[in-house]
Subunit: 195 residues, 2 copies
C-alpha cells in the first residue's frame, strides 16, 4: 500500500505523529493512532485532526466523524483481536485524567477474563488513569528518544540498550499501524462487495 | 413546561422510562436520562432511542446524534454542576462491564479532587464497574418497587420504610429530570439568541 496521505503537520497535542497513524477518515477530520503503551492488545486512540482539548470545542460534524470513525475501526479491531466487547472512554479535561490536551477516544478491545491476572476487568480504568496509561508521559519519552537520535546524528537505533529498546518500540508501532491499516482496508473492500 | 413528548413505549433495555428522561434530541434519535445511583452529582446517561446493545449496531446517523447529544447536554451540566472536566464512557458489551443491553454513554461531570475521599479520581471507574454503579441492578430494584406498589393497589408511597425510600428516590429523579430539562432549555434559548 502507498503511504497514508496525512494532513500536513498532523499532531497529537504537541507531538508529531506519522508512523503511528493507521487510519484517516474519508472526510479527513479524524485519525486513529496506535498506542505507545497499550493497556490490552489493540488499545488504540481515535482523535480529531483539529487539535483542541475538549469535546465541546468540536463542531457537530467533527463529533459525528470522530465517533463514526471509532465505530468504523472497531469493526476491524473486533475481528483481528477477537474482541467480544469494547471500552470506549474520553477523559475530557485535566480533572477527568486527560494527559494530552487533544481530544482522544480510548478504544480498548475486551475479552472475557482478559484482565483477571491484573485484578479484574474494572482495573483497566485504574491503569488508564495511572502511571501505566499515562499517554502524555509516554509521548514525551518517545520525543526525547527521537531528539537524542537526531542529536547523535544517527537515523537508526543508537545509544545505549535503553534507547535501543525505545527505538524498537517505535518500529513496532509502525509495523502495527501498517498491519491495522491493511486489515481495515480488507474490511472496506469486503464491505463494498456486499453493497 | 409541557411534558416531553416521548416516543411511544420508550425503553432503556427492558425497562420503561418516562419520568427520568430529561432530554430528547431534536431528531428524536437520542435521549438523556438521570441516574438511579449517580456516582457523582450530575452523572447522567445518554442513549439511542432504538434499543440495541452495541455501538456497532447503530447507524452513522444514530451514532452522530448520540454523541452530539452528549456534547449538547454536557454544556448545561458543566454550568449547573460547575464541572471543569467530564468522563465519557461506554461499556460496549458484557465483557466491558455493560449491565443493561442498550447502548448508553455515561456522562460524569468532574471537578478537581471530587473523588479524593473515595481513593482518588480514577476510582470512579471502579465504582462504575462495581456494585455501586450497577445500573441494571438499580433498575431491577426500581421495577420491583413499582410492581409491588401496583400489586398493593397503591399509587403513592406505600409499603415499609424501605420501599418508601425507594419511591422517594423515584420522585427525586423526576424532579432532577424536570430541573435539568428547564436548564437545557435556558441554554437553547440563549444559544439561539447568539446566532
Amino acid at each position: 500500500m502507498p503511504p497514508l496521505q496525512l494532513p500536513p503537520n498532523l499532531k497529537f497535542g504537541p507531538f508529531s505523529v506519522t508512523s503511528q497513524v493507521f487510519h484517516l477518515s474519508p472526510s479527513r477530520l479524524s485519525f486513529g493512532l496506535v498506542n505507545l503503551k497499550p493497556l490490552l492488545p489493540g488499545h488504540i486512540l481515535v482523535c480529531p485532526v483539529r487539535s483542541v482539548p475538549r469535546l465541546s470545542q468540536l463542531s457537530a460534524t467533527e463529533t459525528a466523524d470522530l465517533f463514526n470513525t471509532v465505530r468504523h475501526v472497531s469493526r476491524t479491531l473486533q475481528r483481528v483481536y477477537r474482541a467480544t466487547s469494547f471500552n470506549f472512554a474520553v477523559q475530557d479535561g485535566v480533572d477527568a485524567g486527560q494527559s494530552v490536551p487533544h481530544v482522544h477516544v480510548h478504544v480498548i478491545p475486551r475479552q472475557n477474563g482478559d484482565y483477571d491476572d491484573r485484578g479484574g476487568g474494572d482495573r483497566i480504568y485504574d491503569a488508564m488513569d495511572g502511571e501505566e496509561g499515562d499517554i502524555g508521559k509516554a509521548f514525551l519519552e518517545m520525543q526525547r528518544m527521537r531528539d537524542q537520535r537526531l542529536k547523535d546524528g544517527t537515523r537508526d537505533f543508537a545509544g545505549g540498550p535503553d534507547s535501543d529498546r525505545k527505538a524498537r518500540s517505535e518500529e513496532e508501532m509502525k509495523r502495527e499501524a501498517e498491519w491495522l491499516r491493511s486489515e481495515i482496508e480488507k474490511d472496506r473492500v469486503e464491505g463494498e462487495g456486499e453493497a
